[in-house]
Amino acid sequence: MSMYFMFMTFIMLISYIIYNLNKYLSMNKKINLEKKIPFECGFNPISKFNLPFSMPFFLISLLFLIFDIEITMLIPMIMYLKYLNFLIMIIIIFLFLYMMLTTLIMEWMLGYLHWMF
């Protein structure tokens, strides 16, 4: 346990060293307003940074949630492969993959996967 802790502190040390090297080695210039505002090609920014985004991005992340839960259910199944018998394992795996396929195809048919509505 302490081994990993030492490794993590070592990584933190590296990042601290890089940051401080840059801080003390670099030259300092006066700070003006143009340096501080967010990047825009030649103009001062007009719109706010948090624009309303398009819906498909949100829907994709919702779809991912369902699939992520199914992934977490799949992980312990590898350990069951050793101990359970064939019949139970076949029923479990086929039911599970059938569920994944049907959810995916249902989402496809309902049109959530189409990029433009």
Partner: protein, 307 residues
């Protein structure tokens, strides 16, 4: 002694990142019929060190008062260092039971620092890059896991050592040949490399999520991206060409995979964003699920033959 081996590993990874940049520049330049960096000291061999020094000597100022602006890139660097903990080499001291689960966990954690970085930099371009990047990384996370699950199903264990043992006689690339390309595609998307670098793809998204970052804060982002590239080519080598680690053939095939991933940048053109999403959800995922059933049946058949 334990910490010494990890320090050695980290230093070697940093050095290989430094030379990987030179390698990439050389390959891209020769693909475009020019020479690339060939002047500095001995045939341009020390170019990456001067690049690093340039980044360190750049000006550092406080753009944002928020601490997360500075901690975000460090977090990104930290995560990709943790990913290298699973590297199976001869001085590896940690024999974790669930090594693959740890690796998947860290790989899925890769999204968060990017989210922090682009949210905190308060910029339109980085926000647009963030939305594209997160939806593309998330949707291929599912695919990467399903591909890993195929291997885990065959070896029935979570350790890397079992992968080497199962590939003593024949490599998995013979059995799983189409999977090699599917894993390559999904890893390239996870790394945001060129056929799929849609975060900086269009001219209006200037440089994607790392737009507001400069000098040492950019070093972290840069380092973590290239460390992930090295790690992914290592994964490809372990999973498909099961040479025992710490052999010459392992290193040769490691370099071959690395060369392939770098060379794709010079060859292919990038694809449209909606095409990418259709490719993930409608083609690859459906194919993958049917393929999983098929390989489960093959595994059952092999087990039945053994009785």
């Amino acid at each position: 002694m334990f910490i010494f081996s990890y320090v050695l590993l980290m230093i070697m990874v940093m050095l290989s990142v430094a030379f990987l940049t030179l390698f990439e520049r050389k390959i891209l330049s020769y693909m475009q019929c020019r020479k690339g960096p060939n002047k500095l000291l001995f045939k341009g061999l020390f170019q990456p060190f001067s690049d690093m020094l340039k980044l360190i000597f750049k000006e550092m100022f406080y753009l944002s008062l928020n601490k997360m602006f500075y901690l975000g890139p460090m977090f990104m660097f930290y995560i990709s260092c943790l990913l290298w903990l699973v590297y199976p080499w001869i001085y590896m001291n940690n024999n974790m039971m669930y090594m693959m689960v740890y690796m998947l966990f860290i790989m899925s954690l890769n999204v968060y620092p990017i989210l922090i970085i682009s949210w905190i930099s308060m910029n339109n371009y980085s926000m647009m890059g963030l939305m594209r990047l997160i939806s593309q990384m998330i949707s291929f996370e599912v695919l990467i896991f399903l591909i890993f699950f195929m291997f885990l199903m065959i070896i029935e264990d979570f350790k890397f050592i079992k992968l080497f043992i199962y590939q003593m006689d024949s490599f998995f690339i013979i059995m799983y040949f189409p999977l090699y390309f599917m894993l390559l595609i999904s890893l390239l998307i996870d790394l945001n490399r060129v056929p799929f670098d849609l975060i900086e793809g269009e001219s209006e998204l200037v440089s994607g999520f790392n737009l507001e970052y400069y000098s040492s804060l950019f070093i972290y982002i840069f380092l973590s991206e290239y460390m992930n590239l090295l790690f992914m080519s290592m994964i490809l080598t372990i999973f498909f060409f099961g040479f025992y680690y710490w052999t010459i053939m392992f290193n040769l095939f490691y370099l071959m995979n690395l060369f392939l991933m770098v060379m794709i940048r010079g060859v292919l053109a990038r694809i449209r964003y909606d095409c990418l999403m259709y490719m993930c959800w409608m083609e690859m995922l459906v194919l993958m699920l049917f393929y999983l059933i098929y390989f489960y049946l093959i595994k059952e058949f092999i087990m039945l033959l053994n009785f």
